[in-house]
Symmetry: C2
Subunit: 396 residues, 2 copies
């Protein structure tokens, strides 16, 4: 069914956990810390599992080594701000306020003018040059194609306005949907597909996303997990897989799957960002697990160390205090709000429970968050601090 430009390329297949455990048992973790990940003759997934499991290596030590690797990247950090263009959704994910059955959600839709207005606020008043477009996921083909059309238009408009970096997160995508979206961009423009698997465990996936994909688009695990392969088949390069940390209890398995997925995509020539968001308060209908700070930092450290060319995305789901602890392992800092069209020229973003996917921990304005990071000595790519040159561009 699929066309693979690279000879022998296959869709991502989840590695066998028992085999990875056996392989991890052979890894000399101390040697890895000295020699480098790709020189020890084991898969990255096995190396990650070995480092994660070897509690004789402290998290602080792992983090310091990870930060050293991240500090070598250029640019050290870049940014994008999420823009939810609607909170309509046909899926029924139990952890998500946008799920179709949530009657308490007030549904919103941004048309042409609101999308342009939001982009202008982000560009002029927040000074960001990276933007991510989000929607729900939809069931029928016509609606999926129409969504691809609208988000394609938004991308083109953003790039023409001067945005340098685009992300989009609109659910799984099939080839015809990628074609409709792709007509708006060039293959060499930096446009990143985000399709977080949330959990790679099929049983946990079913528990949260639904038992059947009839009428529930996100419940189709397989379509979701190969969306990046379809994107690469079509000639695009930028991808961003992710795990919603806390959905599935077995962090070993999630870590192995995510590292393996990133490695598969890298082998196909992709530029890979990785997301490991932690659950936030939302109008959820099923409880998830709160992963503690140490485990969470350790997971980030292992990923950042084992996948040095892949950027971890840090968001304002985490409070400022935690951001400060983790920022050295991040490659992307993404401040913003998961409300629909929430940005304002002269005040912080809105984040109402009745219209947002979830509530963030940190509603400081993007320019404040990014300006503070730069003031600390770390330049942020795709950020042009509006406070510099304030005499020229008045900021509300």
């Amino acid at each position: 069914m699929s066309v693979y430009p690279e000879a022998g390329m296959r869709d991502f297949v989840l590695p066998d956990m028992a085999a990875i455990r056996a392989e991890a048992a052979t890894v000399d973790t101390r040697a890895v810390l000295g020699a480098g990940v790709d020189d020890v003759g084991a898969s990255r997934a096995a190396v990650a599992l070995a480092l994660w499991s070897d509690r004789s290596i402290g998290t602080a030590e792992l983090q310091a080594l990870a930060e050293e690797r991240c500090a070598a990247r250029e640019p050290r950090l870049h940014t994008f701000v999420p823009l939810y263009t609607t909170n309509h959704c046909d899926s029924e994910c139990k952890m998500c306020s946008m799920r179709k059955g949530n009657a308490r959600m007030e549904r919103k839709f941004s048309g042409r003018n609101e999308i342009i207005e939001q982009m202008e606020i982000l560009y002029r008043h927040e000074g960001v040059r990276g933007i991510g477009f989000l929607t729900g996921e939809y069931e029928d083909k016509y609606t999926r194609l129409s969504t691809a059309f609208r988000i394609g238009w938004a991308m083109r408009t953003a790039l023409d306005m001067g945005f340098e970096r685009i992300y989009f997160n609109i659910g799984s995508m099939e080839p015809d949907e990628i074609a409709v979206l792709g007509e708006w961009i060039q293959r060499d423009e930096p446009v990143t597909m985000c399709v977080f698997q949330e959990t790679y465990d099929r049983e946990s996936y079913r528990r949260f996303m639904g038992k059947t994909s009839v009428g529930v688009p996100k419940a189709d695990y397989d379509r979701r997990v190969v969306s990046f392969d379809r994107w690469l088949d079509a000639g695009y390069r930028y991808v961003n897989p992710g795990v919603l940390v806390g959905l599935h209890d077995d962090l070993d398995a999630e870590l192995v799957a995510l590292v393996a997925h990133g490695d598969h995509l890298r082998a196909r020539g992709a530029v890979v960002d990785l997301s490991v968001p932690r659950m936030r308060p939302a109008m959820s209908s099923r409880d998830s697990t709160r992963v503690n700070d140490d485990d969470y930092l350790r997971m980030m450290a292992v990923i950042a160390f084992v996948c040095p060319e892949q950027r971890l995305v840090l968001t304002t789901r985490e409070p400022q205090e935690f951001q400060d602890r983790a920022i050295g392992m991040a490659g992307v800092i993404s401040p913003g709000s998961p409300d629909v069209a929430p940005y304002r020229a002269d005040s912080q973003a809105r984040n109402e429970e009745t219209t947002s996917q979830f509530l963030v921990a940190d509603l400081r304005r993007p320019r404040h968050i990014l300006g503070r990071i730069e003031a600390g000595g770390t330049p942020v790519g795709h950020f042009a601090n509006p406070s510099v040159g304030a005499a020229v561009i008045p900021i509300g």
Copy 2:
């Protein structure tokens, strides 16, 4: 619920047929033919019914008088070509191949590039400057809003490309949907909403469009019939109601309803076109009545005579021979194909049964149809014959 800019304006209400019949019985038809429709102290609907019913007045005589009125209009004729941008539809209209349940229909969707390519073919190779955008009608709010967005974009793109006149036919519209579409245009741009009621008879409407509007958007008679009122509420002016002649057997009632609807809209300040298409072969699931040529010409003559400032739309549903007989009563000539993206630079349009709403009777190229009308002495507005200046613009 609604806001009426004009004091005392109400939504269209179907006139009482018995009252109109009684009023029509008082109309001196011969006096009408001499004096003028609006000078006899009766409603236009009653005058139309009186003229239609008085078989002592021949159809040829009525047609000659109607043609005289039409000849006084400037321009005498204008044109637009329909462009179906998809054949996906959530409705279940029994006379329509696009109905959701028609498993034999191969569904198509035009993205950015195909829409632009089709517009360029129509502009450069057919020389038309009027275009009509069509879709199915959709059930859920998000899909309806997404459709309004895509068609709004298409309108803006067409106007920016040099098209002078836009029609759109995308089903009933609610105020929020009109707002999303309207963001792409200015209120003084000539953009005509087409929402044909098909039949004004509620029982026939239910028979063809469905008994319940749950899951079947077009089955909502009331939302459909007031769509123009919502369009005018929002400050737009151009409207095009219509009857699908043959759905409902009682032509008296259809004539009265359509004339009354046009008159209501005119009273609200609208610029009104009227459509009275006859059924064409399609993958229908219920038979309709074939109205004979004489009745059909008489119906057109009555409407053209009674509503002199309202333009009848003539299409290539009718064969060339019938077009020639009716063209003198038309104000709009609309050649084209109800297939998705059917136009070709160097050949006639496609009109495949498996992808078209119906099969037209006349697939001659628009420029040939329009050029022939102009060669006969009638200039056609929104047509720039590509054969003139062929040395400059090569035509395939």
